[in-house]
């Protein structure tokens, strides 16, 4: 066992997880599973690192990962979009909690656990992991999809319940916690706090945030840092109100979702979130104590199957009652087939309070590992899985409607002309092409420059791959880059060449001619030199004595 410092441990985490993620591409292993595997490898299996709790900075990075992940989800979903799925989210969220808690309790008793252990284990099985599901939905790019929104709504409801249950379980040693008054107080505190925070965020979204963020949008670094500061401010407020950091981060994101900066912000935050969340999952794997689980493999298997099959089953039952299609019901239901990182906390609380045996912690960890890994595949490949199961006819018992749900089709452009950089030149070209009947998509980082253009517009930075993909660049008929940034122009042209899109670049200065020619654009617009030649010809006309 080496005695590594914080950066050494972080380095080991990153290098091992990168190796596993890249190698596991062959079997299409979801990155979450790779991270957990990396954690298991460096922690319980090889013993390369000490428990993560000894490195405060690693824990903080993991927490930041969760916060940023939920902030990004909030940025995707405005209040209206969440409200559309509110009823089903509450019904399914609460219904599943009740079913799993009761069913799990019965199963635990049947498996031979005592009453107190059964309470803790069944509670641990009750909650699905918001972080796992949101990360996978984000990876699938399905946060916008109807089932994605329903799932996020359900998990938010469950996060609220988690707060209440955590408080309840923390006081399980004292008889006061079971008092109806204490339960009512906890419930009131959670829902009151949630309402207050929601109202505060919506007011901020309307009155406090728009002006500063509109100003900051012209300074991308400032926008980035201010948004993060806003997010952490709401998270801390949520924690003061005894709510979870996830709820705070989600509401902070939702307050910005309506503002035009949300897209750009999402692109900028994503890499940072990916790094921090990877640290979180690897830490989770590294901290798992699986030693005793082998002796309880039957219990582990039974409980895992209960979560993997029972939870989706009850979800199908509830969601189908709300008139959603069978496919939507199925896609939503598979998202709950795992237990949460909170489950480990519940079990650990029970152990530290002396209410359950240490072996129970190992069983919960093993169930967590099995269900998270399996459900990750189920979520990522939910469509082919649906086709297979639907083909057997077994889903008919839920009586969900067979017609697909109506979702607004995503607007996609094809055969269009992409013009980047709305300075005088880019603007003139965009307008000229628009007048000639081309479908033009004008792009600039500054949305003010796009405001009065008659063509399609998009605000953002074309250095991000996701941005140019959203702009439909691979399907464009022609691309023009009028930016005065050599490196960005080169990258843009390079991508155009990869996708076979003809591209014209603005060579704004003689010194950029060589570097721009290297990427072989189809045309170089030489403004200044052309202007010099025009001056000479105008001069020739004027200067004749």
């Amino acid at each position: 066992m080496i005695e590594p410092g914080f950066l050494d441990v972080l380095g080991i985490f990153v290098v091992v997880s990168a190796a596993i993620v890249l190698l596991a591409r062959v079997i299409q292993m979801p990155s979450i599973v790779s991270y957990l595997a990396a954690g298991l490898l460096v922690g319980p299996i090889l013993g390369l690192v000490r428990p993560v709790e000894e490195h405060g900075a690693l824990e903080t990075l993991g927490e930041l990962g969760i916060v940023l992940l939920m902030f990004l989800v909030g940025l995707e979903l405005s209040l209206d979009r969440v409200r559309q799925v509110g009823k089903v989210a509450v019904a399914a969220g609460v219904g599943q909690v009740v079913f799993t808690a009761l069913g799990g309790f019965g199963l635990c008793l049947a498996l031979g656990f005592d009453v107190m252990e059964s309470i803790f284990v069944s509670t641990a099985l009750t909650f699905s992991s918001t972080v796992v599901v949101v990360k996978l939905l984000d990876q699938k790019n399905d946060l916008h999809a109807l089932y994605g929104r329903i799932a996020v709504g359900i998990f938010l409801v469950q996060d609220l319940v988690v707060v209440v249950v955590l408080t309840f379980l923390a006081g399980l040693g004292s008889p006061d916690a079971l008092e109806p008054a204490a339960v009512a107080r906890n419930l009131g505190q959670a829902f009151g706090g949630m309402t207050l925070l929601l109202v505060g965020c919506m007011l901020a979204s309307r009155f406090l945030l728009p002006r500063p963020l509109a100003w900051a949008a012209h300074h991308p670094r400032t926008l980035f840092l201010w948004s993060l500061a806003w997010c952490l401010a709401v998270v801390l407020t949520a924690q003061v109100m005894a709510l979870s950091a996830e709820i705070g981060a989600f509401l902070a994101g939702m307050a910005i979702a309506q503002l035009h900066v949300a897209h750009e912000l999402r692109r900028r935050l994503h890499p940072l979130m990916s790094f921090f969340i990877a640290v979180f999952f690897v830490s989770l794997g590294a901290g798992m104590e699986l030693g005793a689980a082998t002796a309880y493999w039957r219990e582990t298997l039974a409980l895992s199957l209960f979560v993997l099959i029972g939870n989706p089953f009850i979800f199908m039952l509830i969601i189908a009652r709300y008139g959603y299609s069978e496919r939507t019901c199925f896609n939503t239901s598979v998202t709950v087939a795992q237990i949460s990182e909170f489950s480990f906390i519940f079990a650990a609380m029970g152990v530290s309070a002396g209410l359950v045996r240490e072996e129970i912690l190992a069983v919960v960890a093993a169930v967590g590992l099995v269900t998270i890994a399996t459900s990750a595949y189920m979520i990522l490949f939910s469509d082919p899985l649906y086709r297979v199961i639907s083909g057997t006819g077994v889903l008919r018992i839920f009586r969900a409607k067979q017609e697909p749900d109506e979702e607004p089709p995503a607007e996609t452009l094809s055969g269009h002309v992409v013009v980047v950089g709305m300075n005088g030149l880019g603007r003139a070209i965009a307008l000229a092409l628009h007048e000639r009947g081309e479908t033009v998509l004008a792009i600039d980082r500054d949305d003010r420059k796009l405001a009065d253009l008659p063509c399609h517009t998009m605000a953002g930075d074309v250095e991000y791959l996701s941005m140019v993909e959203e702009a439909g660049l691979p399907e464009a008929a022609l691309a023009v880059c009028a930016l005065r940034i050599e490196t960005t122009s080169r990258l843009f042209a390079y991508r155009c060449r990869l996708w076979g899109v003809p591209v014209a670049l603005w060579a704004f200065d003689r010194s950029v001619l060589g570097p721009l020619q290297e990427v072989a654009p189809d045309f170089l617009i030489e403004g200044r030199a052309e202007a010099g030649r025009r001056l000479a010809s105008d001069l020739a006309a004027l200067a004749r004595p």
Partner: protein
């Protein structure tokens, strides 16, 4: 989480202020950190220290990622010469003084390195903001700071390795391995993994971060400081197209961690008392004024105009993030005490704040005008019916090349830069030195007798003054956009609009391609 939140709030305020006041964010970040410390806010020092280490890593990684010699183009040999000469001169001044004051040789060496370390990120930021990044001045400045960075990292690595169990040989071996790693990654691995394999963004990011930590691991095993590995890892990813592909991810990390770095530093490092004020003033003077003076002839020798040279040397006259890294590494090795680190922090704050001001248009033009050089027409040369060209940049050169020989003989150029006029004189073209908006200069160049005037001055206020001065003479004014053209027409001038000409050229090509 509270510690991160406090550091982030302080950084957010500093960044907002920096954007509003148009000054460098780093110094304000440090000041914000000092304020956090002074207010006694509940910051976990251990967490802040670990955060500082991580931030320093990413900061140096970001600096390394700028190391693409292709940006520097033909200025690379000049940049190497300037950076080496500068480092040698600083060593010749700082080392003896530090030794005379009783500091040890390693302390003196670390001080020299810190004072030689201009901020790459500040230079890049300022040049990009002024749209000078791709002009000769931008390329030379970038070249100098990148060579400086490389020299300092190598020297820092060797100092550290000499004291490590692996020894100097181990350090040299480590540098060799890192250098090979850079070459292999730039030419093969980076291209294969980041470009040819169709990875998603998360996989690419993981690869980039893993590469960073592998390079840092090599540094650690060979006794080099971790920042050496971070720098070389950045350099390994700086080439095209790999560097361009990962730039967007790195920007998020660099934005976040650079702010955290400066604020954490402000929180953790105490400001030294007045006892070292004189030393601080001497170091600031050395960086802000002595270094530019020494650099000026070298930069001029690289072929920059006087104005470009003024801008370059004043922009290089600062100590930046790498100076702080050198200070931290020196402190970690026990060569620098907290007072010296604090004093260097003050030097960084002052010089990073002042350098952008000194390198601004207004100051560099004012300095250029003080260069002792006379260029005026001969006493018996009273031009009349000539072509007066005011301002001589790329457009002016293209115009001159396109002119018939007989018209070219009639040209008189007004420009403020002696180097431009010397070059024109070699071509047999008459020149008057001065500001094209100055009536005296215009009179000296015979503006009233010119049959046509061409202005390529950038500022519209200067063009407006010129047009008001010459109501009867045809004046062609080169402008960038249509909006400026309206103003020129209103004042009686004839605009030549760059954007319109470029657009016409594009549309001709477009007609050919799309029919």
């Amino acid at each position: 989480m509270i510690t991160v939140a406090i550091l982030l709030f302080a950084g957010a305020v500093a960044l907002g202020l920096a954007a509003r006041l148009r000054v460098a964010a780093g110094p304000l970040g440090i000041l914000a950190g000092l304020l956090v410390g002074a207010l006694g806010l509940p910051v976990d020092d251990h967490l802040a220290q670990e955060g500082l280490m991580l931030s320093a890593t990413f900061l140096v990684f970001a600096v390394g990622a700028e190391v693409d010699h292709r940006h520097v183009q033909r200025f690379l040999p000049s940049a190497v010469g300037i950076a080496v000469a500068e480092l040698a001169l600083l060593a010749a001044v700082v080392m003896p003084v530090a030794l005379w004051f009783g500091f040890s040789a390693p302390t003196a060496a670390h001080l020299t390195l810190a004072l030689a370390a201009s901020s790459t990120l500040l230079a890049v930021d300022v040049l990009r903001r002024r749209e000078r990044f791709f002009e000769p001045v931008g390329r030379l400045v970038l070249g100098v700071v990148l060579v400086e960075d490389l020299l300092i990292i190598v020297a820092l690595g060797l100092f550290a390795a000499a004291a490590a169990p692996a020894g100097l040989l181990g350090g040299l071996g480590g540098l060799l391995v890192l250098g090979l790693g850079v070459i292999v990654t730039r030419h093969w691995i980076g291209r294969l993994v980041l470009v040819r394999l169709r990875l998603d963004e998360e996989e690419r990011l993981l690869f980039v971060l893993a590469l960073l930590f592998v390079f840092m691991g090599i540094s650690r095993w060979t006794g080099l400081p971790l920042v050496a590995g971070a720098f070389f890892a950045g350099a390994a990813l700086s080439g095209f197209p790999v560097g361009a592909v990962v730039r967007a991810y790195l920007a998020s990390f660099s934005d976040f961690f650079s702010v955290m770095f400066y604020v954490s530093l402000g929180v953790l490092v105490a400001v030294p008392g007045p006892a070292v004020l004189l030393a601080e003033i001497a170091m600031v003077g050395l960086v802000l004024f002595a270094r530019p003076l020494v650099l000026l002839p070298l930069v001029r020798g690289a072929g920059l105009t006087y104005r470009g040279a003024m801008e370059a040397v004043t922009l290089l006259g600062q100590a930046g993030e790498l100076a702080l890294i050198v200070a931290l590494v020196g402190a970690q090795a026990g060569h620098l005490d907290e007072t010296i680190v604090g004093a260097l922090m003050i030097v960084v704050v002052v010089t990073m704040t002042v350098a952008p001001v000194l390198s601004s248009d207004r100051v560099t033009w004012a300095l250029t005008r003080r260069v002792p050089f006379q260029a005026t027409l001969a006493p018996d040369d009273r031009p009349s019916g000539h072509v007066l060209v005011i301002g001589f940049g790329e457009g002016g050169r293209a115009m001159l090349q396109a002119m018939p020989e007989e018209t070219r003989r009639d040209v008189v150029v007004v420009d403020d830069d002696p180097a431009v006029l010397i070059d024109l004189r070699r071509q047999g073209i008459r020149g008057v030195r001065g500001d094209g908006a100055d009536p005296e200069v215009l009179a000296a160049a015979g503006a009233d007798q010119a049959r046509v005037v061409v202005s390529t001055m950038r500022r519209m206020t200067d063009n407006a003054r010129l047009l008001a001065r010459l109501p009867k003479t045809p004046v062609l004014v080169r402008v960038a956009w249509e909006q400026q053209a309206d103003e020129v027409r209103r004042l009686g001038g004839r605009p030549v609009i760059e954007a319109e000409i470029a657009e016409a050229a594009f549309l001709r090509w477009y007609q050919g391609v799309r029919g």
